[in-house]
Symmetry: C2
Subunit: 195 residues, 2 copies
Amino acid sequence: MVGVKQFDEDIVIEAVLRTFWDKGYCETTMADLAAASGVQRGSLYNAYGGKDRLLLMSLERYGERYGAAAERALEKSSPREAMKAFLESHLDRMLNPKNPAGCLMCQTVMECSGRDDALTDFISRHFQRVEMAIRETLCRGRDGGLLRGDVDVRSLARFFLGVSRGMAVLHRAYGDIEPARDMAKAALKLIDMES
Amino acid sequence: MVGVKQFDEDIVIEAVLRTFWDKGYCETTMADLAAASGVQRGSLYNAYGGKDRLLLMSLERYGERYGAAAERALEKSSPREAMKAFLESHLDRMLNPKNPAGCLMCQTVMECSGRDDALTDFISRHFQRVEMAIRETLCRGRDGGLLRGDVDVRSLARFFLGVSRGMAVLHRAYGDIEPARDMAKAALKLIDMES
DNA sequence: GTTATCTTTGACATTCGTGTCAATGATGGC
DNA sequence: GCCATCATTGACACGAATGTCAAAGATAAC
């Protein structure tokens, strides 16, 4: 039906996000996005402007969903529980059979950071936010006496951020969640050590 | 000069590798590779067959260089020294100002694993080899009494493999080596704990 | 009912990348 | 000297993706 909006924005973004996540930015064409979302190519251009914008919207949506889940996990009072929940939130994402392997943020930054500065900025800011959230959790734990007083929170925060990213690479490369699980299991011991 | 080979294969592969590393597979065109290597597009097709082959050759070269460096590092007798040298071999690669940020293997698997199975196999085999090399180092350490007898070598090997991958993501996302350095520093404490 | 607004839809021009090929010319074996 | 072989080079055809546009039609405000 011409003239009246035919689609639900939410469903479209979801389909677009999934396609980028699965195939990567370059490999995905507007025709792919049209097919995946059931919306005509022209309508996508009309509503969103183009591939760049659609990717950015996908990243925003992705960040809202999984970044928020990670930050909720970090709210637990004990640093041990918080870091465990943080890593498990990533494993949960990987366990969902509807999700492609890996992590959209990591994949996009690995693919596009050489070219698109705006995108790289967006993603590095996302990483920084997570890093800071981890750091605050660690600081709370330290100040509450649950971690050693001389714990290097900067280093440890970057460590856990990096572990979550490494898990995504292992997941995508191996097509199996077990290596990521093993990695998380080992990483958690570091918190016990600083307790 | 028509009729006689104009280029040094080594220089070409090096230029091609660097271009893929910098821009990613999809974003790189044969014209880019021709410009970077100083060899005509037609000659590249004639000598190597196409983009796929060139990428595979680049990955082989990359693996020979950096995979070998990592495995040499793992030959140290003490597990602590071996893991330290292993992670430092990755930092060395990132410190070289001639290298693009990140890691070609990680970037390629993140970008292409959804599409090209042969490529994914190649890279996951590379990861497996590294994983196994780490594991052997850990086993040697355990059997020599330098690690606890009940150390979970599988989990720990995957952990260190994943840490090296996470470092690559942080490096590329932040465009700075410090987060990767911090991550390595924290990860090494895990070995002290298992000693 | 008229008008303004908005979306859909298919078509279109254009650009870009790929892969192939034939012509060209240098080299080396015989 | 002749011939087979091989790499270079530019041209070419083809397909794919992009971004734009005008026509068409539905809706809502007035």
